[in-house]
């Protein structure tokens, strides 16, 4: 099977024709379409071969994945459309501010590792709500945590569906709405078929596809435009400096973008200078975004669930190290696309392009062969698929295991639970598709909402639940109420602004509780509320304290 898949992938370039490279959008692209279909078939095949046979497989892949394998799965699970398409988009559009997302989406792993990874594995639960329900000895909290986990998954998936829609639109030449519906249906079918075991195997394959597709155009671009091409993440430093200082028209007339505009520009320091006025962002927002994303990383249910699938807590720790390393390979390279994209589109004839598609546009404008651009787009789809499937699993697990089985029907058979998990996945996919059609914000920004939500709700309960036995049920409820209130205020104001409604203190709230960084205040307040209320209410039961002391910290 593997040989057939690899063989067909290699044959694709020979079978397909080049497309009109001067057209960034608009037509059906046969080569990229074949590449995408081949990759999707490969994903489904792998999903079928390794499909879930029990609830244990569906939720936690049988706990039989190696450290490096799990690291790759973490990376693939993590490297979503937000990483693949959204980060370059943010740097392209907002310059240095975009780096807050790069730092935020990587730095959080340090917190996750030193504060949680090993302990979560030792606690030995399947899902984040499972941990919360057990640690805070409350079925109601488990149910609320499950609902929050589902909301986080939905919020995270909206950005991914936006990315899938953009790439399907680009490849198939159809409108965005149909692209979202078709792309969303494909990812839904594949998640339903495979479950987590297949997903984990797929994630390892997806990681390789994502990295290869992302890197190849960068080698070509740095080589073509005469930079240090052997290591693009270092070589592009000169590109950034060229943007800051300006770049004269080169001697070679061949150095142009695909439209024939010279590879040259006047000084554009706003691309690299910190919190530049012209980007509409400032120092506070940079710090708040970085903090929120970092803390959110350590509170995302689908990330936390990755630690349940390794055999030992030591493996959980090393899988984070490997995962972060694999993630950083992509994150070191994403700014390269934005830098080249900046120069290629600096001519007023081209102007600001659709930010979320800048990775693909940069490759096109750099006159890279259409099939390689097609592979890049397929990589973008792959990135979104790997994350969406992980999110659907986390959401479906919360729905079936934490809500249905643990709260409503403890007698449910394994078959029934699996059915509910699949039903939950379908409902989530429909909701996500509908929200994605509204195009509320950039991919990276939409995903950041999920991070702040996780940081305000799940993170404080995990942090205090693991490290302070004094944190009790009442404290957790208080922290959750505070975190959810701040999240709701921010999200309501964000949506109101988007639909043109007027609310009191709108500018003030939109600035200080921005939808992609409200955790800067929400998280500390939720932690304080949890501590204060825990101090003035009855102590944590002795059996919970004993379990923590002996099993988690023993």
């Amino acid at each position: 099977m593997k040989k057939i898949l690899i063989g067909s992938a290699l044959l694709v370039p020979l079978l397909s024709n080049a497309v009109n490279v001067t057209q960034l959008e608009g037509e059906f692209k046969i080569g990229p379409a074949i590449i995408l279909i081949t990759i999707l078939i490969a994903f489904v095949m792998v999903g079928i071969v390794f499909r879930a046979k029990s609830t244990s497989d569906f939720y936690a892949a049988g706990r039989g994945i190696s450290k490096i394998g799990s690291g790759m799965a973490i990376a693939s699970n993590w490297m979503s459309a937000a990483s693949f398409l959204g980060m370059a988009a943010l740097m392209y559009g907002f310059g240095y501010y975009g780096l807050a997302f790069v730092v935020g989406w990587t730095g959080g792993y340090v917190l996750l590792l030193v504060l949680m990874a090993g302990q979560i594995r030792k606690y030995g639960k399947y899902t984040a709500p499972d941990f919360i329900g057990d640690r805070y000895y409350s079925q109601k909290l488990r149910a609320v945590a499950a609902i929050v986990a589902i909301l986080i998954s939905i919020s995270y998936c909206v950005g991914q569906f936006g990315g899938i829609g953009l790439m399907f639109k680009w490849i198939l030449g159809i409108n965005y709405y149909w692209a979202v519906i078709i792309g969303g249906s494909v990812v839904l079918i594949y998640t339903l078929i495979s479950g987590q075991l297949g997903v984990t195997k797929n994630m390892q394959i997806q990681y390789i596809i994502i990295i290869i597709s992302f890197v190849i155009p960068l080698f070509i671009l740095t080589y073509t435009f005469d930079y240090f091409w052997l290591l693009p993440p270092v070589g592009y430093g000169a590109v950034v400096t060229d943007i800051v200082n300006g770049l004269p028209i080169p001697d070679s007339e061949a150095l142009t973008n695909v439209y024939g505009n010279s590879y040259a520009m006047l000084p554009n320091p706003e691309f690299a200078m910190p919190w530049d006025n012209s980007t509409g962002t400032d120092f506070f927002q940079w710090m708040a975004v970085a903090f929120s994303l970092m803390v959110g990383t350590a509170g995302l249910p689908h990330v936390l669930s990755r630690f349940y699938i390794v055999p030992k807590s030591n493996d959980a720790r090393w899988s984070v190290v490997w995962g972060l390393f694999f993630i950083c390979i992509l994150y070191w390279m994403a700014p390269v696309y934005s830098a080249f994209g900046k120069i290629f589109s600096s001519s007023p004839e081209v102007g600001m392009l659709a930010k979320d598609a800048i990775v693909v546009y940069t490759a096109q404008l750099g006159n890279i062969h259409p099939l390689i651009v097609g592979l890049l787009a397929a990589g973008g789809v792959s990135a979104a698929f790997s994350t969406v499937s992980g999110l659907f699993i986390a959401g479906a697990s919360a729905f079936s295991h934490d809500l249905y089985f643990k709260v409503f029907n403890p007698q449910a058979s394994e078959k029934k639970q699996l059915l509910m998990a699949r039903l939950g996945t379908i409902v989530m996919a429909v909701i996500v598709s509908i929200i994605a059609l509204f195009k509320l914000a950039l991919i990276g920004q939409l995903v950041a909402v999920a991070f702040s939500l996780a940081a305000c709700t799940i993170f404080p309960m995990f942090l205090l639940g693991i490290w302070w036995s004094g944190s009790n049920q009442q404290g957790a409820v208080a922290g959750l109420v505070v975190g959810l209130t701040i999240s709701l205020i921010s999200i309501i104001y964000f949506i109101a602004t988007k639909i043109g409604a007027t609310l009191p203190l709108q500018d003030f709230i939109n600035y200080w509780l921005g939808a992609w960084y409200f955790a800067w205040i929400g998280t500390p307040l939720a932690i304080i509320a949890n501590i204060v209320v825990s101090k003035i209410t009855p102590e944590t039961p002795i059996e919970i304290k004993k379990f923590l002391a002996e099993q988690v910290h023993g």
């Binding site: 780096l99 790069v102 730092v103 990587t106 730095g107 792993y109 340090v110 590792l113 030193v114 090993g118 240090f228 993440p233 430093g237 950034v240 400096t241 770049l247 028209i249 007339e253 142009t256 439209y259 024939g260 505009n261 006047l266 000084p267 554009n268 320091p269 706003e270 200078m273 910190p274 919190w275 530049d276 006025n277 012209s278 980007t279 120092f283 710090m287 970085a290 903090f291 970092m294 807590s313 030591n314 720790r317 984070v320 190290v321 972060l324 950083c328 994150y331 070191w332 600096s346 001519s347 007023p348 004839e349 102007g351 600001m352 490290w467 302070w468 036995s469 304290k545 004993k546 002391a549």
Partner: protein, 253 residues
């Protein structure tokens, strides 16, 4: 009764104490490296205008009172082109004002307005037609031919515009110039123009942004490359150290 209380800050065993110290050390390094550096960047930064803005500010009063000399208009033109090259310009308000101002400056400088207008029309037509060429080699050839025409247009008016045909400004200029010879800025647009120039031509700079390190502005390298290396390093260090601690204290998974 045995005490089962757990608190990160009050470790009870030697292992917990060492683990706490390790975690605190790493978190402090992490926090200072990420947020400390950005705070430093903020503290030492200064708003620095681009030369184009300094020149614009020197001549803007005369321009707005319609008493600018041709030399001052040439300076204005160059300053405006500097902003026209920034693709973060707002397409509905800022870009149209900048392009209108460029048009006004050019047509008030050149003597043969009709010739410039006709040439621009011709170039625009050729560019539109070129987009329909499906053969990429032919398309590139056509674009090179158009580029020569653009250079020729700038060269013919060099004495009035003071822009070299091989300068990137020539390419930008011919991209934004249109055929409207009688462009005038409204008083509202005149009011907005300096605001747009200030917005796009003042940047926060310091020794950290102006120092180059392996090709990067230093602060950019630090944030985009070094911090990620540091994160991986911190994670590696923790995993190694905790492995040793587990071994030392006989703690098994």
């Amino acid at each position: 009764m045995e005490d089962y209380n757990i608190s990160f800050f009050k470790p009870k065993s030697e292992f917990s104490r060492k683990n706490r110290n390790l975690v605190l050390t790493l978190v402090i390094i992490w926090a200072v490296s990420v947020f400390g550096f950005q705070i430093l960047l903020k503290i030492i930064e200064k708003p620095v205008p681009e030369p184009a803005l300094v020149e614009f500010n020197e001549i803007k009063a005369n321009v707005f009172t319609n008493s600018a000399t041709p030399y001052e208009k040439q300076i204005l033109l160059k300053s405006l082109i500097s902003v026209a090259n920034k693709n973060t310009l707002n397409k509905t308000v800022e870009k149209p004002i900048i392009e209108k101002a460029i048009n006004w400056a050019v047509y008030s400088l050149v003597t043969d307005k009709n010739a410039v207008s006709n040439n621009i029309q011709n170039i625009q037509n050729l560019k539109t037609e070129a987009l329909n060429i499906s053969d990429f080699v032919k398309y590139k050839e056509e674009r090179l031919r158009i580029k020569e025409l653009e250079k020729q247009l700038v060269a013919e008016n060099h004495s009035e515009l003071n822009i070299n045909k091989n300068d990137i400004r020539a390419e930008i200029l011919t991209s934004v110039l249109n055929t409207d010879k009688e462009t005038l800025l409204t008083s509202e647009e005149k009011e907005k123009l300096p605001q747009i120039m200030n917005k796009f031509l003042i940047h926060n700079r310091s020794v950290l942004t102006d120092t180059t390190f392996i090709g990067f502005p230093f602060h950019y390298f630090y944030t985009a490359v070094f911090l990620l290396v540091l994160f991986v390093g911190l994670c590696y260090l923790y995993a190694k150290q905790i492995e040793q601690l587990n071994k030392q204290f006989g703690i098994e998974d």
